[in-house]
């Protein structure tokens, strides 16, 4: 097969389809428009078209670094290359979530007794709107990865406070390409985290009442946000003691010392009320404030023999503790490896972790914790091409809607796309069952030959079928997918695929780029091609739906990994 000219033909036909205008009603939609048809570049400029491999690379990077490839993005990245795309993404302005929540608030109000839509859902609408349409995809996805590292969840007062949760999300967005120390500080002082890990209104030791500082944040900031349980080498492997055992990074005495650090914080309260520790209104969109009289004032012992002198202000103490943790040698491999797992692959080699970790330790200009450099190192590593990771069902759902240009049947509220998929996908943004996220970074599934696969922890007999049925619903059903009659239904746009389906190879190449990170297995390809043959009597639209239903529910598509190109 003449692959290159064949690819060019595909691109031409897609461009023609995108171009609107007359469209192709001839019934032979994928016959290349040899006349050039205004789609730019005729036959003579073929050499400027990206190669098949460049298309594959584009599909792969968009698969791992965005909420899902779209044809136009694949075309663009195939032309410019991954580095240029990253440069552009790093410089994009931030698309926030809180403004969208406030827009819904202005439209429907925040009073659940009155509003036609449950206000708690606004922040889900904001998430889907941005996941589907925001141009700063890499930042949106990085922040999403961070929601699984710095977990807060829709519980208690947070469940009814979409402004607070979206403000938290925006805090992660703001620091996604910043410095890890600033991120850690912002998270520590964020009232949503203060509520979730109970260090808001955490008072110093009271010998009369026989109460002690709350240990919750002290423990989890170490176990989950910075250093983990065991001393690590820069490549993420355990630094073993002389007798061959992993060495704990801290003990319960350290926890009690750090608990003293995180005393004295309270909600910011409102300007019109006298500030009072423990009594301030639960404002969830402004950083917590320190009441030094409720802060443990004595000397405190941090990790690695650091001492915080007595009598400092509470904020000074917190800064010192954040410095102490941020500069711990574990942070680079601990955080670096988890970001690799979230974005790229479940079992990175020690070398890969080591490369990323060294960039975390020093971005090349002496700066530690530069997340932009870390993300770039993660996404441009040679191991991206051999990555293997179970796709989160939640992200598979989002990606389908992106690739197939989901839009509301009426109105413009694209955010209603997926607020209801928690049961079917086992996930919802900022709704994990605990601060330990939906899955453990150390989870090893049965039958996995010792491989780690965090996402597999939520894959059960129940959830695999739930996802298959969700795909049927998305593709086939005309009945509402959600039970909110006041909200629009979403529809996928299959028109481009309908035009391609009569040419099996062209059509499957398109499916492969959109949903298989650029490479489906030879077996999957053969099954889909055979199904298409068997479905010859169906309309183009029904053929497209059948192949999509199979492709999107296949074990091949469930894993983000590069197959051997056919």
């Amino acid at each position: 097969m003449m692959i290159r000219s064949f690819v060019a033909a595909v691109m031409l036909s897609v461009l023609a389809a995108c171009g609107g205008g007359g469209g192709s009603s001839s019934g032979l939609p994928n016959v290349p428009d040899t006349g050039g048809g205004g789609a730019g570049g005729g036959g003579s400029t073929l050499p400027t078209e990206p190669t098949l491999e460049e298309y594959r690379d584009a599909a792969l990077i968009l698969d791992v670094a965005t909420f899902g490839p779209r044809q136009s993005d694949i075309d663009a990245v195939a032309k410019t290359g991954v580095d240029d795309w990253l440069d552009t993404q790093f410089e994009m302005p931030i698309t926030g979530h809180e403004p969208i929540v406030r827009r819904y608030g202005a439209q429907y109000g925040f009073d659940s007794q009155v509003s036609p839509v449950r206000p708690a859902l606004y922040r889900r609408f904001a998430f889907f709107e941005n996941a589907l349409t925001a141009p700063d995809q890499l930042r949106q996805l990085t922040a999403y990865a961070l929601t699984q590292l710095f977990v807060v969840s829709e519980t208690g007062v947070l469940g009814n406070n979409p402004v607070g949760l979206s403000n938290y999300y925006d805090t992660l967005l703001a620091h996604s390409f910043g410095n890890y120390r600033d991120l850690l500080r912002a998270v520590t002082l964020h009232p949503a985290m203060g509520f979730y890990l109970s260090h808001v209104n955490n008072a110093k030791t009271d010998p009369v009442a026989n109460t002690f500082p709350d240990e919750n944040y002290a423990r989890e900031v170490m176990q989950l946000f910075t250093i983990g349980l065991y001393e690590l080498n820069p490549d993420g492997t355990h630094r073993l003691s002389s007798d061959g055992n992993p060495q704990p990074t801290y003990d319960n005495t350290d926890i009690r010392e750090f608990a003293k650090i995180f005393t004295g914080l309270a909600y910011a309260g409102s300007a019109d009320a006298e500030p009072r520790f423990g009594r301030n209104r639960a404002v969830l969109y402004a950083p917590m404030i320190m009441f030094d009289e409720y802060h443990e004032s004595g000397e405190k012992y941090l990790l690695n023999n650091a001492v915080v002198p007595a009598g400092q202000s509470g904020i000074q103490d917190i800064e010192a503790a954040i410095d102490n943790l941020f500069n711990h040698p574990n942070v680079a491999p601990f955080v670096g490896k988890q970001l690799i797992q979230r974005l790229v692959t479940s079992n990175p080699s020690a070398d890969y972790v080591g490369r990323v970790s060294s960039v975390f330790a020093d971005n090349g200009t002496g700066v530690r914790g530069d997340l932009k450099a870390v993300i770039r190192a993660i996404l441009t590593d040679p191991e991206v091409s051999t990555s293997s990771r179970i796709r989160e069902p939640f992200r598979r759902f989002v990606a389908v809607n992106r690739a197939l240009n989901a839009s509301p049947v009426e109105g413009s509220d694209i955010g209603v796309t997926g607020f209801f998929v928690q049961n079917a996908t086992g996930q919802m943004v900022l709704s994990a069952p605990s601060v330990f996220n939906f899955y453990s970074p150390f989870y090893r599934p049965q039958g996995g030959q010792g491989q780690i696969s965090p996402e597999m922890q939520i894959i059960t007999e129940d959830s695999v079928v739930g996802f298959i049925n969700l795909m049927a619903q998305v593709l086939y059903t005309d009945s509402p997918m959600h039970n909110h009659s006041e909200l629009a239904e979403m529809r996928l746009d299959l028109s481009e695929l309908n035009l391609l389906v009569s040419d099996t190879e062209t059509f499957l190449l398109q499916i492969e780029r959109l949903f298989f990170a650029g490479t489906m297995s030879a077996h999957t390809h053969e099954v889909l091609a055979t199904a298409l043959d068997d479905a010859a009597g169906l309309s183009a639209q029904e053929q497209v739906k059948l192949v999509l239903y199979l492709a999107l529910t296949s074990p091949d598509q469930a894993i983000s990994e590069r197959n051997v190109p056919r």
Binding site: T155, S198, N202, D206, A209, N210, T211, F212, D214, E215, N216, R219, Q223, L229, N252, I255, A259, S346, S388, R389, I390, N423, P433, S434, F436, F442, R444, P445, Q446, G447, G448, Q449, S453, M456, I459, T460, E461, D462, S463, V464, V465, I468, N469, A472, S521, H523, T524, V527, L528, T530, A531, D534, A535, L546, T553, P555, D556, I559, E561, V564
Partner: protein, 450 residues
């Protein structure tokens, strides 16, 4: 069944994937006969987050209550609200949290107990040995993610990958015919408790029941989809994922056909998610003959117990559902005539600090585990209940108690009751040999009758 697909996706061992339709009828009927006489099951209720169980079981005697009140300060329940338990334990009378009326009733009727200050240990451990670091300790003491695994696996010093429930069913070969996945049924998804070396587990959604693939109505889809599952070049993760789909397909049909034969329970259950899960377990236990199982574990998580703040308020909100779910389940077992054959027990990440952080309590170690069922020799507590004084040698800080009974002791009694032969106990509980004859391994023999 396609042979190649069988090989690829039957990786939880081919035995575990015997499809119902391929079972000879004689095997089914013989299994049925045996099941009728000899069914036993354990139900593991995981109170995820670390329940403050020193506010579930509380001393009522004057001196002991006074100590409790002084140590717990703002977290203390008032003495008058405690639900009295019959008898005394170690010379002290006890009561339950006011929300635990079903447990109180079952306890006083001799059908329930509480194992006190039980927790994960690797070997007999004293405070002195702890301080001199001369004893092997569970990994990640006081950490949620570690202690929750220690409880589920009973291998706290390593992460071997199997759990107590999985090994328990592994150690009872030949007891289950039909689909071996039916030996371990989870109402709360994947879990370490039911992970076995030979047997798998099956996850059912408590609310929606067993799901089947809607698209299989379309023959072309079904045929093509089944072929997608036979990729000879599938990667490890793809194979793991595919095997989950395959079990869902095989087990889905099997369970649906069994559930179709279920007689609706008369016992009413509440509508909260824990009660709904317990109801589903009751129905499934009632179908053990149809499922061809005589030994079974069930697993369900009731989460949200990490009460670093508002302990009293949150317990008052959450314990009624726990108590009701446990009580309704026991009533349902009586309705099905299975009361003596099903034993329910609670586990949790850890007990919590006796002392307050001013709002709630922090992570501890030993806690109190509830055990219910007709086989339980109840009406009395099991294990040593620590004196709640500041200088108790079991107190490793702020009222975190070094367990006085090892998890292994509780599991050894459950294993014995389930019929694990004494010589197989060390495979079910690899650390049991460390505790035999020690104080932390003693005191629970005979807790379950038969």
């Amino acid at each position: 069944m396609n042979r190649r697909h069988f090989l690829r996706y039957g990786l939880n061992s081919a035995v575990s994937m015997t499809a119902a339709s391929t079972l000879p009828m004689s095997l089914l009927s013989s299994a049925k006969a045996r099941a009728t006489q000899d069914y036993r099951a354990v139900v593991c209720v995981l109170l995820a987050g670390g329940a403050d169980s020193f506010n579930i079981l509380v001393p009522r005697s004057e001196t002991a209550y006074g100590r409790y009140q002084s140590r717990r300060s703002d977290l203390a329940l008032s003495q008058q609200t405690l639900l009295p338990l019959n008898g005394e334990h170690e010379g002290v009378s006890f009561g339950l949290h006011p929300a635990m009326s079903s447990l109180q009733q079952r306890f006083n009727a001799g059908q329930a107990t509480v194992v006190t200050n039980v927790g994960p240990l690797v070997e007999p451990t004293s405070r002195a040995a702890l301080e001199t670091e001369s004893v092997r300790l569970p990994l990640g003491l006081f950490s949620h993610s570690d202690q929750i695994l220690s409880w589920q696996t009973a291998t706290p010093a390593n992460r071997a990958g199997t759990g107590f429930g999985g090994r328990l069913i592994d150690a009872l070969p030949g007891m289950n015919s039909g689909l071996s996945l039916a030996g371990n049924i989870s109402l709360s998804g994947n879990n370490s408790f039911q992970s076995g070396a030979a047997t798998g587990s099956y996850a059912i959604n408590a609310n929606s029941g067993v799901k089947t693939i809607g698209g299989f109505d379309n023959d072309l889809f079904k045929r093509s989809f089944e072929r997608l599952m036979t990729d000879p070049a599938a990667s490890t993760l793809q194979t793991v994922y595919g095997s989950k789909i395959q079990s869902a397909i095989d087990a889905g049909e099997f369970f649906n056909s069994a559930l179709g034969q279920a007689t609706p329970l008369v016992t009413p259950f509440a509508g909260d998610s824990f009660s709904v899960a317990m109801k589903r377990i009751a129905e499934l236990a009632g179908l053990h003959e149809q499922l061809g199982v005589t030994r079974q574990t069930f697993f369900v998580t009731y989460g949200g117990w990490d009460h670093h703040e508002d302990t009293l308020g949150q317990q008052a909100n959450m314990l009624p559902a726990l108590d009701a779910g446990l009580g309704q389940f026991q009533t349902a077992m009586e309705e099905l005539g299975l009361s003596n054959q099903v034993t329910t027990f609670t586990i949790s990440d850890f007990g919590r600090t006796l002392t307050s952080n001013g709002k709630g309590s922090d992570h501890g170690w030993g806690g109190n585990a509830m055990v219910l069922g007709g086989a339980v020799q109840g009406g009395q507590l099991y294990g040593h209940f620590p004196e709640q004084v500041e200088d108790n040698p079991l107190d490793v800080g702020r009222g975190r108690y070094l367990p006085s009974t090892a998890v292994d002791a509780m599991y050894a009694e459950l294993s014995r009751w389930m019929g694990v032969p004494p010589d197989a106990l060390n495979t079910v509980l690899p650390n049991w040999r460390n505790f035999e004859g020690s104080a932390q391994g003693a005191g629970l023999t005979g807790m379950l009758a038969g």
